[in-house]
């Protein structure tokens, strides 16, 4: 994960995003977000937005 030429010892500032985290966030991944279309069931809508 760490770039081979650079050494990153600044993880208290920010850490690299985990691949598995990114996968979970991807709408196209099978493990990813289940609902991304705005046409979600009425019961789940928070009301007028």
């Amino acid at each position: 994960m760490t770039n081979s030429k650079r050494i990153y010892f600044d993880n208290a500032a920010t850490t690299p995003l985990d691949k598995e985290v990114l996968e979970a966030m991807m709408p196209t991944s099978p493990k990813g977000l289940a609902i991304l279309h705005p046409f979600i069931p009425l019961a789940e809508k928070p009301g007028w937005q």
Binding site: R6, Y8, F9, A12, A13, T15, P16, V21, M25
Partner: protein, 331 residues
Amino acid sequence: MAIENARKSVAGLLNAHPGEIFFTSGGTESNNTAILSAIRDLGCTHIITSPIEHHAVLHTVAHYASRKTISFSFVKLLADGHIDLKDLEAQLAGREDKCLVTLMHANNEIGNLLSMNVVSALCRKYNAVFHSDCVQTVGHYPIDLSRMDIDFISASGHKFHGPKGVGILYVNSNVQAKPLLHGGGQERNMRAGTENLYGIVGFARALELAMERYEQDSAYIKKLKAYMTTQLLQHLPGIGFNGDYDGSCLYTVLNTSVPQSAKSEMLLFNLDIHGICVSGGSACSSGASQGSHVINALKLDDIGVAGRFSFCKYNTMQEVDKVVEVLTGLI
């Protein structure tokens, strides 16, 4: 659905109730919300904090204190940078007005850890509200909020391999808090604005992974820190460490201090030229050229040039060797 699943998962991992978890844009917003709520909704008129808090707390406290309706005081620090708990108790005991105590769980520059249960007991004893900026500990330590009597905690996703721009505010179910942002009814009226869906899902996944792998990752990172400490002591006579580095301290942070000299003044710059990214002070406001307010507050007799080395599971022993070699050549 995705947001509520994420909330349930985060609440489960922190042993809180899902209704106590609110998603925000990160540590800064969570700290701001908690401090405002303690003043406006819970009637706190005095804030006790420390001079080594993150600016997301210090500047917020200063902002509200500038209105003159509330006051604040700093708790004393011990020589190793820990909070003087006797002074905290004396301050709480000496006040008639309602206090907010806002003290970070772990300091982001020197790594010192707070005795949360002691502070929480003091806050309960003197009827004070307790908020803790847990940005450096959530995702790095198992946190059991059911056993930690606290009103608010703040956390941020990008500190434990989650996405940037998302965090949480935990609000104890006994607390009646109102929002910082007004508008829509999202987050059960606690945080208006369309939710950062991707960020929230990422936050929850990152916390799940961090807790699943806590034993192995923390053991590995502890070894890296210990190895770097011994290597530096062996190869760099005169090196010192800021904070309680081998005591009650984050296993992810090692704050070094090298004697001031023409060469060491340029240390961070030279490390950068060698492709080594570290921070001198709080990197969250990187680019700032003033010295670190944390190191300054330690009032050390012998102020060296501070460098914060902070590790994660992707770092290696070889990288430590390389950094020690470069440092030896630079000083």
